[in-house]
């Protein structure tokens, strides 16, 4: 009887000893903080179950003009990896201390081809306060070939951090890259039908989209959820002289009044969402597929 107990005890400890390393392995998941939703999506798809990806910006704030509070900065500091968009996207990083060796600038590989804009016009929307889109154009992922390069930078940083999952990361990246390049090819094919087609955009965020897909874009500084005001309507009228644009790209669904007034001017509204923050429905890929479908309507 006593021997039986002893055997049970040995068996229990043997199982415990075997389970402990498994427990340790389970805790090896790396924590990755990102500065916008596209990077969150890429990291999540590449890292899969081996990576804990966190994008802490509130959903109603444009992450490009968001500043995290001190406790969130501390969380960024403690992350295994911090994924930056680069192109001067995350301006708050110039005011805080982050570990440089754990920080990855995902647009570094195409730094030389970033677009620099000269403008001093400031405007405000949301809780972020006044801001300007001058400096460097930062919606790098709207050129899907650049998005693929950003994803590749994420892959490399993951492999460097946990080389044991190299194959899983590589497979996941290959699938993501294929999706992005497919979008790229599709949009290229759509816009190739009418190169340098004149379009108006509601916000100055489509520079890379215009460059990659040969769009002739005039960009306003309008918000979809607000009336642009008389001055801006006047400005648009001026822009349209000698620029026969028939479509306006919006970040989000515009106000019915704005869309109607544009309609009266012979301009149709269509959404090309940059997907800064997590969409209410779907994910980055579904939003971009919808964007491409919308572009198809323009170039039909």
């Amino acid at each position: 009887m006593r021997l039986n107990k002893l055997l049970r005890l040995i068996l229990f400890f043997s199982v415990l000893m075997l389970a402990l390393p498994l427990q340790v392995n389970a805790e090896k998941k790396i924590t990755v903080y990102t500065v916008n939703y596209p990077l969150f999506y890429f990291a999540k798809r590449i890292g899969g179950e081996h990576v804990n990806v966190i994008f802490p910006a509130p959903p109603d704030v444009d992450p490009a003009f968001w500043t995290p509070d001190e406790s969130t900065v501390r969380k960024y500091q403690q992350a295994d990896l911090i994924l930056l968009n680069g192109a001067n996207y995350e301006k708050w990083t110039k005011k805080v201390s982050l570990p440089m060796l754990r920080t990855v600038d995902t647009s570094r590989s195409f730094k030389a081809t970033l677009i620099h804009i000269e403008t001093s016009v400031t405007h405000s929307h949301g809780p972020g306060g006044d801001h300007s889109h001058g400096g460097t154009a930062f919606t790098t992922w709207l050129d899907f070939s650049q998005a693929a390069l950003q994803a590749e930078a994420i892959l490399k940083s993951f492999v460097r951090k946990t080389p044991e999952h190299r194959q899983t990361f590589a497979d996941n990246f290959a699938a993501l890259e294929a999706d992005l390049l497919q979008l790229d090819e599709r949009l290229k094919a759509i816009t190739a039908q009418k190169t340098m087609f004149p379009l108006v955009a509601s916000h100055p965020i489509y520079q890379y989209l215009a460059r990659r897909y040969y769009l002739d874009l005039k960009m306003m500084v309008w918000e979809p959820d607000a009336d642009p005001g008389r001055a801006e309507w006047q400005k648009l009228k001026k822009q349209l002289k000698g620029f026969p644009a028939l479509w306006m790209l919006w970040e989000g669904e515009p106000l019915a009044e704005s869309a109607d007034r544009l309609g009266d001017m012979g301009i149709s509204s269509i959404v090309f969402a940059p997907c800064f923050s997590k969409p209410k429905q779907g994910d980055f890929m579904s939003v971009m597929q919808q964007n491409v479908q919308n572009m198809e309507k323009i170039f039909k």
Partner: protein, 392 residues
Amino acid sequence: MIDSLYLAWRYLTYNKIKTFILVACITTIAALPLSLEILLKESERQLALRAETSPLLIGAKGSALDLVMNSLYFSDEMPAPIEMAAVEQVMDTGLAAPIPLYVRFHARGYPIVGTTLDYFEFRQLQIGQGEQFGMLGQCVIGAEVARQLDLQPGDSIVSSPETLFDIAGIYPLKMTITGVLAPSHSADDLAVFVDIMTSWVIQGLGHGHQDVTTTSDSSVILKKNAANVTANAKLMQYSEITKENIESFHLHGDQASFPLTSVLVIPNDQKSSALLQGRYLERETHYQVVRPKEVIDALMATIFKIRNVLDAVIVLVGITTLLALALVFSLSLRLRESEIDVIFKLGCNRATIARLLGAEILIIIMISTTVCLGLLTLVAHYDQILVRNIFI
């Protein structure tokens, strides 16, 4: 024998000055070389340890010793500055991890080390009290700085102007202490650490001020047009970075061109280290890459040569002192002729006189040995601090 010791002790206490001089001479001649030996061994240990754990340094071409001493021990000899682009160059190679260092400014006599959070991980420095700096204008201080200046998290420390008469120069920056490092018994204990961007603000490459585009005070505006606003010297610049004014702080110019004193480089492996060093051997580059261990080994070799000379000098001084002591004893024997005569007349033989003199010498040597051991114990106890303050 006890009687002889008693008589000798009475004699020595009666002739206090003579005894003191003899004890001082013997103590000095014994303690000096031994103390030097202890301090040199400790300095060798500290120098070697720091150098061995710092694989490579990149800095401007020039004195390798200045570069190593400034980067590893935060000495005042500042090497010529290099640009932040040097960090990016190393990063681009993929062969190593770079950590920027900017050791130029001081706060209350202690060096301000501008770096990134990676430095603390690399040196395995732990926060003893408080927390790591998180925002621009915050700092963490070494354990000795905190002890000597009686500072703790929440207090402030102000950067010092580089020259006393630099009235038109850089504004001192009041920095908030967020943490105190746990003692590491290295140069890190005696430094004030800030983010590299904060060190650029101290230099004046970045600053914060009231918004000139929205200010209602026209007296601060020199020139204004649609594209540009030029402010005059009346524009108030902030001397402290707070939550309220941090948004107004900005750096002027391209960060890649901002100054550093060196880059601490951690190669991926031996091969990467060799490849990286090879790249900096090219003539066109303004940078040099050094292996701190080699520089410190060369320094130690020089120190050893100097030590040999010092040892020879000490031996010579020792011999001279012993001869002088012998002379003092022989002269004192002559002076004590009448005293020795009385001892003879009391019936004592020569052996008793020899015993008396021997007891005197023995007591002097014992006192000297005790004092010497006390001094050596003190030196050994404070060797780390002494070495950091005297040698490094």
